[in-house]
C-alpha cells in the first residue's frame, strides 16, 4: 500500500481523516491510508443522512471491515450536504482510492477558518506524516 499525504489537504492528526476545502463553506472529507490500515478492506460503510448536523470529534458514519468496525469521526463542525453514493455501494473504493473516488461526505462547515487551525496542512504535512509513518512502522502496525 502507498502511504501518500498530499500537502493541499488538511489532516486530522488523531483520526486520520482528510479535508479538502472546495469553497468558503464546503469541505470534502475522506479517510487517509493510515486510518484505513487499522481496519483493512472495507465490507460495509454507512454515513449519516444528508442534512444531519455533525460536531468535531463525533461520528458521522461507520466503517466495517471483515474483522472490525470503526467509527468515522468528523474533523470539523457542520452539516452533511452530500454523501458519496459510489462508496456506499462499493466500500472497497475507499481502500483503492482514499483521496480520489473514495471520498466520503461533503460538509457545510460552520467555522472552517477556526476548525482548520486544528488540522495539519501545507509544508507541515511532510514532517507530520514522516513521524506518523515511523511510529506506525516502529510498532509493527504497517510494513
Amino acid at each position: 500500500m502507498s502511504y501518500e499525504f498530499p500537502e493541499n489537504l488538511f489532516f486530522d492528526k488523531k483520526h486520520h481523516v482528510w479535508c479538502l476545502p472546495e469553497s468558503e463553506l464546503l469541505v470534502r472529507i475522506g479517510i487517509d491510508p493510515l486510518g484505513l490500515a487499522s481496519l483493512g478492506d472495507l465490507a460495509y460503510l454507512s454515513l449519516n443522512q444528508n442534512g444531519s448536523k455533525v460536531s468535531r470529534g463525533q461520528p458521522i458514519g461507520m466503517l466495517e471491515a471483515a474483522k472490525m468496525t470503526g467509527e468515522l469521526i468528523s474533523p470539523v463542525d457542520g452539516e452533511i450536504v452530500e454523501r458519496n453514493q459510489h462508496v456506499l455501494n462499493d466500500p472497497f473504493q475507499v481502500n483503492s482510492e482514499p483521496y480520489g473516488a473514495g471520498w466520503l461526505v461533503v460538509l457545510e462547515c460552520e467555522n472552517w477558518s477556526e476548525d482548520s487551525k486544528k488540522l495539519v496542512t501545507g509544508r507541515k504535512v511532510e514532517a507530520w506524516s514522516k513521524d506518523e509513518l515511523k511510529r506506525y512502522r516502529d510498532h509493527g502496525w504497517i510494513e
Partner: protein, 320 residues
C-alpha cells in the same frame, strides 16, 4: 505488566437487554481515565441480535420472531445475526483504545487468550483461527465481534454450552427452503457446542474458569467487582436504544427488502444463493462454499444431477 487495573464483573444471568446495553454504554462513556472492564454474563431469556450494518428484514423473518416471542436488538459492532440464550456465556472486553494494540489481530489475541485457555483447561483443543474465530476441536464454538466505539475498543464473544440450531434456522429470512436446509445442515456440522463435544459444564463453572483465565492472561491487575446502580441504569437506557424501532430500522433500503443471499456459517464456510441460466431455464441454487470452493448444493430444479456435475468442486467465483 501495565499498572492500569482492569475491572472484572461477573453478573450471572441478567435481563437480555443488559447483556448488550452494559457494554455499549461503558464503551460510549469511556475516556482515557476510565477503568478497562471485562464483563462475564449470560442472558436470562433468549433474544436475537443483528450486526450494525445488517438490514433487519433482510436477515430475520420478523413474523417468526414474533411468533417465537424473540426480541431483537441491533449492536454497534459488525457481524451477522445471532441467537442468544442462557446456554451461552458471554465475555465482553471494553478497553480504552490507548491500552490495546493497534492491529486488530493483536487485539483479538489479547482478548481471546482467556476463552481459548478455558477450552484447553476443560480438555478440548482450543485455538484461534482467521484472526478472531474461537474453535474447539476444529469447530466453531463461539461468535466473536469487535469494534471501536467512541474511545473504546470492544471485543465481545461467547462460549456455546448448547445451541438451538433448529430455532436459529427458523428465524432466518432466506430465499427458499433449500437455502435454509443447507445452512441448517452446515451449521450443525461446523458450529459445535460444549455439550456436543462431551463437556457438560455449568454456567457457574465456566464463569469461574473465565475469571481465572482473564486474570492470568491480561497481565494487568484485575479486580473483581460489581456494577454501580448508575451503570446498570445507563445499560438499560442503552438497551432501549438498541431495540428501538428507529435503530432497528437503520439501513432500510429503498424498494422491496429481499431475503439474504449469503450467510457466513464459520471461518471460510458460507452459504450462497444464486440464479443460474441453463439452456433457457433459470434454476435457483443454494451452494455451500468452503474456502472458495463449492462443496455441496441444494436446488428444487429437476436438473439437479446436471447442476451438481457442473458446479461441485469448482470455485464459487466462477458462478457469482
Amino acid at each position: 505488566m501495565s499498572e492500569f487495573p482492569v475491572r472484572l464483573i461477573c453478573t450471572g444471568k441478567i435481563e437480555p437487554g443488559l447483556t448488550q446495553g452494559l457494554y455499549h454504554s461503558l464503551a460510549k462513556e469511556m475516556t482515557e481515565s476510565s477503568t478497562d472492564t471485562v464483563i462475564i454474563c449470560s442472558p436470562s431469556s433468549p433474544y436475537l441480535c443483528i450486526g450494525y450494518h445488517q438490514v433487519l428484514e433482510s436477515v430475520l423473518d420478523l413474523e417468526v420472531c414474533e411468533t417465537l416471542n424473540l426480541p431483537v436488538m441491533r449492536r454497534c459492532i459488525g457481524g451477522g445475526a445471532t441467537f442468544l440464550d442462557c446456554n451461552q456465556i458471554f465475555y465482553q472486553c471494553i478497553f480504552h483504545n490507548s491500552r490495546v494494540p493497534w492491529r486488530a489481530d493483536k487485539v483479538y489475541q489479547m482478548m481471546l487468550n482467556a476463552p481459548i485457555n478455558v477450552l484447553n483447561r476443560i480438555g478440548l483443543r482450543g485455538s484461534l483461527r482467521s484472526i478472531n474465530e474461537v474453535e474447539a476441536n476444529s469447530v466453531r464454538i463461539a461468535g466473536i465481534g469487535g469494534g471501536r466505539v467512541g474511545e473504546a475498543m470492544v471485543v465481545v464473544g461467547n462460549l456455546l454450552l448448547d445451541f438451538d440450531y433448529s430455532l436459529m434456522s427458523k428465524v432466518w429470512h432466506v430465499p427458499d427452503q433449500s437455502f435454509r436446509n443447507l445452512a441448517f445442515a452446515t451449521m450443525e456440522e461446523r458450529v459445535g457446542t460444549l455439550k456436543k463435544l462431551g463437556c457438560n459444564h455449568t454456567l457457574e463453572s465456566l464463569e469461574s474458569y473465565l475469571t481465572e483465565a482473564f486474570v492470568e492472561s491480561l497481565e494487568r491487575p484485575v479486580h473483581e467487582t460489581q456494577f454501580e446502580i448508575q451503570e446498570i441504569q445507563a445499560g438499560r437506557n442503552s438497551a432501549t436504544n438498541l431495540s428501538s424501532f428507529e435503530f432497528l430500522s437503520l439501513h432500510y433500503p429503498e424498494g422491496e427488502v429481499k431475503p439474504m443471499k449469503s450467510l457466513k456459517i464459520s471461518a471460510d464456510v458460507f452459504i450462497h444463493h444464486i440464479r443460474l441460466q441453463l439452456d433457457d431455464r433459470i434454476s435457483e441454487i443454494s451452494v455451500r462454499v468452503d474456502n472458495g470452493i463449492i462443496t455441496d448444493l441444494q436446488t428444487e430444479s429437476p436438473r439437479k444431477t446436471n447442476i451438481e456435475k457442473l458446479m461441485l468442486d469448482t470455485p464459487f467465483s466462477d458462478w457469482s
